[in-house]
Structure formats: C-alpha cells, structure tokens
Symmetry: C2
Subunit: 300 residues, 2 copies
Amino acid sequence: MNFADRLDAAVAAKGTPALVGLDPHLELLPEEFAAARDTSRPRPLRAARMGDFCCELLELVAPLVPAVKPQSAFFEALGADGVAQWERVVRRAKQLGLLVIGDVKRGDIQSTARAYAAALVEGAGGSSDEACDAITLSPFLGADSIEPFLEVCARTQTGLFILVRTSNPGSADFQRSGSPELSFRIAERVARWGEALLGSSGLSSVGAVVGATHAAELADFRAAMPRTPLLLPGYGAQGATARDLGGAFLAGGRGALINSSRGISFAYREARYGGLSWQAASLAATRAMIADLAAPAGKP
Amino acid sequence: MNFADRLDAAVAAKGTPALVGLDPHLELLPEEFAAARDTSRPRPLRAARMGDFCCELLELVAPLVPAVKPQSAFFEALGADGVAQWERVVRRAKQLGLLVIGDVKRGDIQSTARAYAAALVEGAGGSSDEACDAITLSPFLGADSIEPFLEVCARTQTGLFILVRTSNPGSADFQRSGSPELSFRIAERVARWGEALLGSSGLSSVGAVVGATHAAELADFRAAMPRTPLLLPGYGAQGATARDLGGAFLAGGRGALINSSRGISFAYREARYGGLSWQAASLAATRAMIADLAAPAGKP
C-alpha cells in the first residue's frame, strides 16, 4: 500500500495525528541511561544505552500513536555506533507497527540523491528492515535533488516530507525571501511533485514540513497543497498549541501529523510530572497531547 | 591554527587549489573492489572494500593536493558499516596530512545543529580523530541553524562551507528566487558570519560553495564575499573548465578550491586513460587537473 494510504490508515486506527519525535539528546536522558553521556566509556556501550532509551520509549508509545520521527543528528553524534543504533531503532519501531519518518533533512545533487535514497528508504546495503517509511528532505538544491526520490518512493511505497517552512525563528531569514515567498514557491512544487504519488485516500506520499509555530499561515499552506500530508513540528517545547493547528487539517482531522519530541521524551524533567518515573511522565505527556489534539479547537 | 590559515598554507605548500572529491559510487568502483557492490556479501565486508578503495586513492593523491572532500551519502548508503568506513577514511586522510572537508550538507534547528557539530567537527563520541577539518552546510533553515557551528568552529579551529549556489541544473529553481536573488542574500550573510572567524591570512574559516558551472556570476559572488574561501564543485564531470574559474580567485590564486570527484576517482573509465590501471589513471587525471588550473587562464 502506498505511504499516504498507510499513514492515513494508521492515523485513523490510532485516532490521533500525534507524532512522537525521538531526539535523544545525551545530556537530557534519564539517569539510568547516564552511561550514554560518559565520555570515559566505550562508544559502542554509550550508543547502546542511547538506543535502549529509544527502544523503551517506542514500547511505551507504540499502542498510542501512528508514527515516530527519529532525528538522525543525535544518532550521528555517536558516529558509526550511533548509526548502528539508528538502524536498531528503525527496525524496532517497524516491528511494533509504527510508521517511521526519518528526520534527516538531506538534499544533494542527483547522483548523490540516489545514494541517499538507497540508504534511507530502500534500506542500507540491501535489507529493507532498516529503511524508513518516509524521510524529510531539504529542497534547497531544486527539482533535480528531489526527483530521484520520487522514483524510489513509487517503487518502494515510501514517502517524503519536504521542508516548506520550518518551525525555528531563523526560518524567516531565507524561506520568506522573494514574492511570492520562497516557502510558497516550494509549496507549489511540492503539490505538483505529489501528483505522481497519490493514494486511494486522495492524499499524496509527498508531504511537507510546515512549522506549527506559523499559525496564521497554516491555512494558506493547506490551500496551496490540498492533497499533501503536513508534518508540523513546533508543538509543545517550541510553543505552538492545539488552537494554532486548525488550519493544517483536512476535513475529519485528516492530512496532518503533529510532532512533539522533547515534550514527550523528556517529560520527566517538567515540574508538572514531578514524582513520576520517566516512563510514567512520557506516557502522561503522550496522553495529554492526544487529548489536547482531540479537543474541538484542535480539529476544525 | 585557524582553519582558513591552515587551508591557505596547504594550498600554498602543494601549489594547487585542486580538491579531490571522494564519491565512492559502488557501481563505478574498479573491478578489484567489486565485492563492495555484491549484495550477497556481508555488509561489513562490502563497506570495507569501499573504504579500501578510498584509502588507496588517498595515498595516491596525498602528495599532490591540499585537501579531500568525502561525500557522506555514499558511505551512508552502506548504513552503520559505511559510516565506520567514513571514520576510517577521515582518520587516514588526516594522517596523510590532507585537510578533510566533509560534504554532508546538513542544516537543522539550533538544538539539532549542536548535535551535528559535535558529530562532524568535534569528533563523534569524544575523539577528534574522526572529526573533519570543515564541513558543508545548507543555509535553508536560517541563521539559527548556522550559528551553533560558528561557536564550535572557533573553539576547534575548524571551518564551514555554506551552500550559496550549487552546481546542479536545478539550483536555479529556488536559489535564484527573489530580488536580490536568494543566493546573493545568503552570500551577504556568509560574509558577515565570516567576520568572526578571520585568520591572519585575511581569509575566513567560513567558506561558501559556489558552483563552477556558473562562470558568469563567479566574480559577483567573489565581490559579495571578499574574504570567503570558495569551494567550487562542477569542474570536470559536470562540465566547467579552468577558463570558467578566473573570477573565483583572489590575487595570487588564493581563496578558492576547485573540486573534481568522479573525474579523478573514476578516471580509469574514460577513453583517454584506456589501458592504464585505475591508480595510474587517477594519478594522471589529478596531474592533468593541476596543470590545467595552473595555466594562466586558471588564475587571473
């Protein structure tokens, strides 16, 4: 089944568009994983402890949410040993029935793009067990940096989320340049690329990343990309609330994923979850997010 | 010594701005490394053969050029085993006295950028042996995605090459949008970021990637970034010639690196080097490039 349809079915089955981001900052891991940040320990052991945390978090959230989004930088921070844990985490998430959106933000010239596609959505080195269901891509290099992925996604039933407008304060520096703004020029291309990968759900396997922090523009991005799944970072730790997100959804609360990373992984550090184990805090934060997004303000 | 000064000294010592790119496409490797593309073989063995090729190429070119630019996608294509070979290749290149510019084109929000900086220019997991001397970055996410690297580069004496105008045909799609064009808006920021990292050579450790394929604009980019080392891809396989590059250099042939990847690594596949071993063909191609760039047309 095409990625868009798998995603749509998973959101319907779990009854929530909540997406759990896995950003295993070493310095924020719970105390029982402290060996991960101890530079006197061997790197494979440190990486394994980071991977243990991620896998335990996957077990907790798998019954509740449709998908997870591991962030590759935090795995790469431990080099080849960290990347081995990335592969373990992707495999484990898929075994648990979660869709995996690899947050890698790659973007390079055509011949290089093919190598990234082989690595990330076909499966590195021949096995598809480590392949993501979808990845994030940066469009900065233009159409010929995206097109090799479209072919591979069609063949492997995988998807893309292309950066259109990111959630960070600096996103205005270049993404808002020009008239129409660069982000809207990209949105138009994303919609067009997506036509080749439409599922029977009516949604495309070519999605877009649009920061939840840009509430006023969400409806405009939705109008420019009517069949595009939107991935919205910025909820929770970055400040966006469910009220801000209405414009991103299609009828019936479909077509958008709302991501929270630190707000779930590291909920145990927040005063409101004081006294809970990290596991109980992450579960409570996941349930609170799901409830928040299900409230009428969250879905128009 | 700051990266800009190390680079300037290395170019002067070797007497050439030629940069050798390492893009180990599995399907293009010489026959003796064919195990690397045999999906029936174990992935660690396949990756090791790819790494063997890269290390042998490093030995060949180390006496001739100041720096090499491994492209991470081709290593990531073999997953964690490929990344282990990336680390081996970076270590070996540094042992051979080469500067290493990791072509990774990363770009992400602030907290994630810090993790990438830790991985790529500080050294993954505590050792600096695998750290690159400089990396390429995509500026699409804006200033707060670049600034964490500036701090790390100042502390670790490393450098950056920020994508300003890439060499591929699709670069016009978004990089030329707006007025002034996005690439020139980025160039202005690159020049400003670079002021914090000036070396005694007068050059900055914040460089820029400008495709050699845009000959008519090179002098404009140079004028916008007068103290910025330029990294020019697109020479050779992508079609640019030494005549196209004059505008990129500062007086005395300083301040620019000219990259060739496939034209050197896979010279043995070209008719003009027919009958030579792959090693002899790569050496001949490196020497031909150096001679071409040294001709009067190459340096104004």
